[in-house]
Subunit: 105 residues, 2 copies
DNA sequence: CACAATACTTCGTGATACGATGTATTACGC
DNA sequence: GCGTAATACATCGTATCACGAAGTATTGTG
């Protein structure tokens, strides 16, 4: 999909991916794949950004001898999703403006 | 609205604003105001970009002693709007993923 | 023992929205 | 007739950000 359109969606996608259960990088990418494809470099950049914005917290844990970083959503992260939902009305009105067929003459 | 979310919408908004009738900078901004607010510097950057991508053509005309640049959408510009419409299914599926309430426990 | 899959990291680049600022002209109030 | 707003277009610099490329290290698997 169009990279610019993606930009406004990726952050909330990642937050949504850890909303119900803590998760880690590799799994987030797989879970999101049906909806959006993102590379590792993109994901880890986003995770750092969201952590800096206190929208998630990180915890390192060992899993079968390998270290994993588990990400946990915070109240601010949940609020971010809520803000996104609230903005959706505007997005829909823009979509309708862009796609309306008034000049079919 | 969130600037990142805006990014994927602005180009098509501008194209939609000239879809049915040629228009010029100042008027495009006013016409779009109910849907998205954008500054002049942003608009003219977008217009240049869309012209470079052959999605619109420019014609300079005098209007009451003042020069105006009128923008006219091309077939490629119309196709761009069509592509946007086709991508919307993906956007909706992302929106549903992000906002679904499965973990209300 | 090579190769894929898992897991995380860093670096550089190109795209782009926006504020600040500038240039002109017309219109309006006083 | 003079300032101020509105109209109209333009340029510059900056911050944000998705991504490819490349790297490190471990665990299977043939």
């Amino acid at each position: 999909m169009d990279i610019q359109l993606k930009r406004g969606l990726l952050d909330v996608c990642v937050l949504a991916a850890i909303k119900n259960e803590d998760s880690y990088g590799y799994r987030i990418i797989k879970d999101l794949r049906p909806y959006v494809v993102l590379s590792e470099s993109t994901l880890y950049t986003i995770l750092k950004r969201l952590e800096a914005a206190s929208m998630l917290t990180v915890r390192t844990a060992e899993h079968e001898g390998r270290l994993r970083k588990y990400y946990h959503i915070t109240a601010a992260g949940l609020r971010r999703i809520e803000d996104f939902r609230n903005e959706w009305k505007e997005v829909i009105s823009i979509y309708q403006f862009v796609t309306k067929e008034e000049g079919h003459a």
